[in-house]
């Protein structure tokens, strides 16, 4: 992870760590904080705890998003303070709706100049963000709104498994990781498990990102904690609740970063500090899929 972040994430980059509630790469986010990257533009539909931590860590000058909160719990104090008071640092924001953000990645991935959608009519969203623009259908059947393409310099996704080439498979919520990865110049995939290429080829319908567009594969089991990985571990809701109190105050936020990010060398140290019992308690019961037969055609 240290090498992947050092080589592929540069000061001033636009970085997208995607994963909608599911598969959020906290491990990569923490490494970016640890390496004290600066002036990043962070893009993500739901900034979640990881961007609250990264913005508290001073890595970003700008945030592009569509829903700002601690899902199911409350607010993100570090980001809110910066928006509401400009303290301890100013944070620029660029705001869309979920569909707008998904459309931006889709246009970025497809090399299109904009993405059209039926949203934003009669709202203040285009006033708050002039990049959301009304356009006439070229076929004369009314108006829609357009959002511009988003092409991150780096997209980082967490997944259940990949092979050494970066061929990546996910099950459970798919979010917009595929769109964000294809839109990006560089892609880092972080996985629970590295598997043989034969495992990928035995179930090609599950592949969301081909190794063709992947620059680095990092093996980091439990790297999405405290978010979850379908079938492997549940969300550590205790942490999401704890964060609600930590993030209310800048000093406690910085103390947390000192003891859980700056004070640790890597993800291994984080897991050791967390303790095996805490992790074991997040293991779900089993619900395997049936398997399908792809057929052998020679």
């Amino acid at each position: 992870m240290r090498d992947a972040i050092a080589d592929l994430v540069r000061d001033g980059d636009t970085v997208a760590i995607e994963g909608f509630t599911h598969l959020i790469s906290f491990a990569a986010g923490h490494e970016i904080i640890r390496q004290r990257k600066r002036d990043l533009t962070l893009a993500r539909l739901t900034p979640d705890l990881i961007y609250d931590q990264m913005i508290a860590g001073g890595v970003a000058r700008k945030l592009i998003f569509s829903w700002l909160g601690n899902p199911g719990v409350g607010g993100l104090g570090a980001i809110r303070r910066r928006i509401e008071t400009g303290e301890p640092a100013h944070l620029e924001i660029e705001e869309y709706s979920h569909f707008g953000m998904v459309g931006r990645y889709t246009a970025g991935a497809s090399n299109l100049p904009f993405f059209p959608l039926r949203s934003y009519f009669e709202t203040d969203m285009p006033v708050a963000n002039p990049l959301i623009r009304e356009i006439e259908s070229p076929y004369g059947d009314g108006k829609v709104y357009a959002v511009p393409p988003l092409k991150p310099d780096v997209t980082i996704v967490h997944a259940q498994r990949a092979d050494a080439h970066g061929n990546t498979q996910v099950w459970g919520l798919l979010g917009c990781q595929k769109e964000a990865a294809f839109a990006a110049d560089r892609v880092i995939v972080v996985v629970e498990e590295l598997v043989d290429e034969a495992v990928i080829r035995a179930d090609p319908n599950r592949t969301i990102i081909p190794g063709l567009i992947v620059d680095a594969v990092v093996v980091e089991p439990y790297g999405a904690h405290p978010s979850y990985v379908q079938g492997a571990y549940d969300r550590d809701n205790r942490f999401y609740l704890d964060w609600d109190a930590i993030t209310r105050d800048e000093a406690t936020t910085q103390e947390w970063l000192n003891s859980w990010v700056y004070g640790l060398d890597d993800r291994g140290a984080y897991l050791e500090k967390l303790g095996a019992d805490r992790i074991a308690g997040l293991r779900p019961g089993s619900a395997p899929s049936g398997s399908v037969d792809y057929g052998d055609y020679r």
């Binding site: 569509s66 829903w67 980001i79 998904v102 949203s119 619900a287």
Partner: protein, 265 residues
């Protein structure tokens, strides 16, 4: 439904009454897009009571969810296991929502006005907000593309306001006449808000597109309603009393859906 618990005997909280009343509104509906927070528990209660065939759609990219526990958020793994389909968010918003397959969009709100326009973005000025709220998420497009909108929120002078600080999601705009014209001209699929359920009562929308109080929850008074609203409300000529929660509705909330009391305290 089983027998009704009289007020003051077994007792129930205002929040429980609000969730139960909201769930009952979903009877007969087929496809519901579930918003974050209170809508999540109301829709999950409806699925277990008045609307067992309701297809739950979550913006995280799930159609036909069968959550075994109350999802902690709208991206909880329990909405995936046993669902009909997991789709990308692109598919969800493009084909399911914008394609016109959603009957009810169920939203929460921080501020609402008499015409059902919703603010979930900021309190105060956008550039220098007094309080920064979460923002749209999917609400902005749900409000336009779902066939109708249900809202669940607690009533207070701060939330039921004459003027919302920011219009995140369109309701009946400045009134029914303008709203209908714009929906027609711009080809919106939805007809906008149809019900607002609060901790005090149930509001529908009159011919002017304005909220009308049709039912008061047991124990709630008109004085209480007027003290928690920023305009002179339209009250139906004969206001009904919302039937109290049944034992089974309360059991489901307390034992299955929200044993920690997150939504119901």
């Amino acid at each position: 439904m089983s027998e009704v618990v009289p007020v003051g005997a077994a007792g129930f909280s205002k929040s429980e009454m609000m969730i139960v009343a909201a769930a009952r509104e979903l009877a007969g509906q087929r496809v519901c897009f579930v918003g974050v927070g209170l809508p999540n528990i109301a829709v999950n209660l409806a699925k277990r009571t008045v609307a067992p065939d309701l297809e739950l759609v979550y913006e995280a990219g799930v159609f036909g969810a069968e959550p075994a526990r109350l999802p902690l958020s709208i991206g909880d793994p329990t909405i995936v296991t046993g669902s009909i389909a997991v789709v990308s968010m692109y598919e969800l918003f493009s084909f399911y929502l914008q394609g016109g397959l959603v009957d009810v969009g169920f939203l929460g709100a921080a501020q609402i006005d008499r015409f059902g326009n919703i603010n979930t973005t900021v309190i105060g000025d956008y550039a220098h907000p007094k309080t920064r709220l979460p923002g749209s998420g999917g609400a902005c497009e749900i409000a336009i593309n779902a066939r109708q909108i249900f809202v669940i929120m607690r009533q207070s002078a701060r939330s039921f306001v004459e003027r919302i600080d920011f219009r995140t999601s369109a309701g009946n705009l400045g009134g029914a006449e303008k709203a209908e014209r714009i929906r027609r001209e711009q080809g919106w699929l939805g007809r906008g808000p149809s019900v607002v359920v609060t901790d005090l009562g149930i509001w529908h929308f009159d011919e002017n597109g304005e909220m009308r109080l049709d039912s008061l929850h047991p124990g709630a008074t008109l004085d209480e309603v007027r003290a928690t609203i920023g305009w002179d409300p339209h009250v139906a000529p004969s206001v009904a009393v919302t039937p109290a929660p049944s034992r089974e509705e309360l059991r489901l909330i307390r034992e299955e859906l929200d044993p920690g009391g997150t939504y119901t305290k």
